[in-house]
Amino acid sequence: MELLWIVILAGYAICVAQSVLALTTRRPLMQRTSLVALGVAFGAHTAWLVIKGIRANRCPLVGTEEMSSFLSWSLVVSYLIASRWYRAAALKTFVFPIVLALATIAAISPDMQGGERAVNQPLQDVLLPVHVGLILLAYAAFFITFGAGLMYIIQERELKNKRFGTIFYRLPSLDTCDSIGSRSMAIGFVLLTLGILAGLWFTHARYGVYWQGGPLEIFSIATWVIYLLLIQTRVTAGWGGRTGALASIVSFLIVVCSLVGVRYLGHG
């Protein structure tokens, strides 16, 4: 497993280096190398998750190691989907440092062999990983929204200030940033909704009630409400463009800060 981590981290590190370097030249740089590195690292990462799951005989979504690993894997998946839909190579520069950071956290976190596993509770056995997996995928999608928002703001500043340098040429068009933002937000919102529903069902199956009022539950609902409002203002009040981009950046930061607060300052 250690060898896999070396391959994964090296691959993602190459992607980070390439994506940062690419922002400094107007012509594509080291594209093939980076593509191969991404392919190998992503393959190894997927293999790691599968092996981990088989060895522990459950979904690899328990503890910091597995959750960080899955979240960084989800980010790569989100990036791959976004780059299939849009020509936005610059998104990599925003996504891969986080992918690498999360993968590093996973690699240095202690190995979680056992983990929570309800015996003879097939429903709970399925619902918990579905809940955690969907929520993590939703966060990955929201991170793409955040990245697209950042790209929008930077590109908008370059245009307003008439700075037509390499960054301007490497970043996608405003419309593309906007479109990536709204699409990833919509997908994230659906995933979050399903994830929360799975969570409620799981709570009911285990504790007999849907709502316990814990900080994590309140946090999830708050996140859901924030993104519902974001989508609603985008659709009805025409909050696209700069305002929409800013709003999605701020929302994501609030969500991440409160998640960290809830997990590490609250009772986790």
Binding site: F164, D175, S179, G241
Partner: protein, 422 residues
């Protein structure tokens, strides 16, 4: 076999002289026929554009003779005194000529480095020469290689990447905002020639709708009809702002035509994406503070021209990388050319071996005993040629490989010695 080239271009001669030397398309076939005399020039090709006139040929009897013949032909065809072109004409032979052809085709020698027109013009010139029957194995190899090199340089370097005209830069910037221009509406304020040209490039780039406004309504309507768009009166054009995506302003007015306060008011209820103002008038017709309105972007002539200049510099920088490719390709082609030159040597080797085989058969005929006429014919027509082919094959392969590195004549001499023939 030598490759020779003479020509004049925008770098060496003024336009009057280029015009004087140009080859009209209707005369091209005759000219090509006249050029190739089969003695000093075996193949020929003429590239004649507004920026250059070049004659390219393969010369079987030496570069100097070939170049002399090209000069005589050029002066003779255009009824010029010999020496009238002194100081304007360039002459290249062999590697230099190959390099020049590669550079021209790849648009490194063009007035605007990286422009794509020259490639089409070279292709056309080649086609004319093929039709006139003045292309043989040397020039066909050279021209195919030149087209390959041009393609390689376009994809591997950035010489042709960034737009270098004001209207194409405007289109590129619009794409940095809207990505796809289809479905976008252009409002053209001022229906003069400049505005019309810029509007045309936006329409060609895919914008869907054009609205024209002009102080003289008639002219505005005329342009609108031309591009299948609509027109609005000059007094009410602010009303068209909310439904527009790109506003192109090119009037001859001495002051601002699009003012900030009115624009702000007009855009208040606008729920569309960004709005791009392009001001290509001098003096400027759009108040610069329009750029302070949210979701609007403003570009003026200076912005566009500064990008044009940056892109030109970028292309020149990329051209250095292209020159490295050219050097390598010239070397590669020289090797290829040398291996093309082994054709006569191959014939010679086969003849020698056939003669040897025939004389050995004759000498040993008696020892072969009784043979029916059929058997004798079979030996002479089947066995001996098969043997000659079998024996000459490795020699030819060796010759072809060695010719890539050395002069074919040297190798043929060596082979002669090996086979003990004088």
């Amino acid at each position: 076999m030598n490759i020779v080239l003479v020509g004049i271009s925008h770098k060496t001669a003024p336009v009057e002289m280029r015009e004087r030397l140009a080859f009209n398309e209707s005369h091209l076939h005759d000219a090509l026929g006249e050029l190739v005399d089969q003695d000093s020039l075996e193949e020929g090709l003429i590239v004649s554009t507004c920026n250059r006139v070049e004659l390219l040929a393969s010369a079987p009897s030496g570069a100097d003779r070939g170049l002399g013949r090209l000069m005589d032909f050029l002066c003779g065809f255009h009824c010029l005194e010999p020496g009238a072109l002194n100081g304007h004409l360039y002459r290249h032979a062999d590697s230099e000529a190959i390099k020049h052809v590669f550079r021209v085709t790849s648009s490194l020698d063009s007035m605007v480095v990286g422009e794509s027109q020259i490639l089409g013009q070279v292709k056309e010139a080649y086609q004319h020469a093929v039709e006139a029957g003045t292309i043989g194995r040397v020039l066909s190899q050279l021209m195919n290689r030149a087209l390959h090199v041009a393609k390689r340089i376009r994809t591997e370097t950035g010489v042709a990447q960034n737009p270098v005209s004001v209207s194409s830069v405007a289109v590129e910037l619009a794409r940095k905002i809207f990505d796809e221009l289809s479905g976008k509406t252009v409002l053209l304020v001022g229906a003069g020639e400049t505005g019309e040209l810029a509007a045309r490039s936006l329409i060609e780039a895919g914008t869907s709708k054009l609205i024209v406004t002009n102080r003289t309504a008639g002219r505005g309507e005329e342009i609108a009809r031309k591009f299948g768009g609509g027109s609005v009166s000059f007094e009410t054009f602010y009303d068209a702002l909310p439904s527009s995506d790109i506003v192109l302003c090119a009037t001859g007015a001495p002051d601002y035509v699009i003012r900030s306060a009115e624009t702000r008011k007009a855009l208040k209820s606008r729920k569309r994406g960004p709005l791009l103002f392009i001001d290509i008038s001098v003096p400027r017709n759009i108040d610069p503070s329009v750029a302070d309105i949210e979701n609007t972007f403003l570009l003026d002539v200076d912005d566009l021209e500064s990008i044009v200049n940056t892109n030109l510099r970028e292309r020149k920088h990329e051209a250095q990388a292209a020159e490295t490719i050219i050097e390598a390709e010239v070397q590669h082609f020289n090797k290829l050319l040398r291996s093309l030159d082994i054709g006569p040597a191959v014939v010679e080797i086969k003849q020698l071996l056939s003669q040897m085989a025939a004389s050995e058969f004759k000498r040993n005929r008696k020892r072969l005993g009784d043979l029916s006429p059929d058997q004798e014919t079979a030996i002479q027509d089947v066995l001996l040629p098969a043997l000659v082919n079998k024996l000459s094959h490795p020699l030819i392969v060796h010759l072809r490989n060695a010719a890539r590195e050395r002069e074919p004549n040297e190798i043929i001499d060596q082979l002669r010695k090996m086979l003990r023939i004088d």
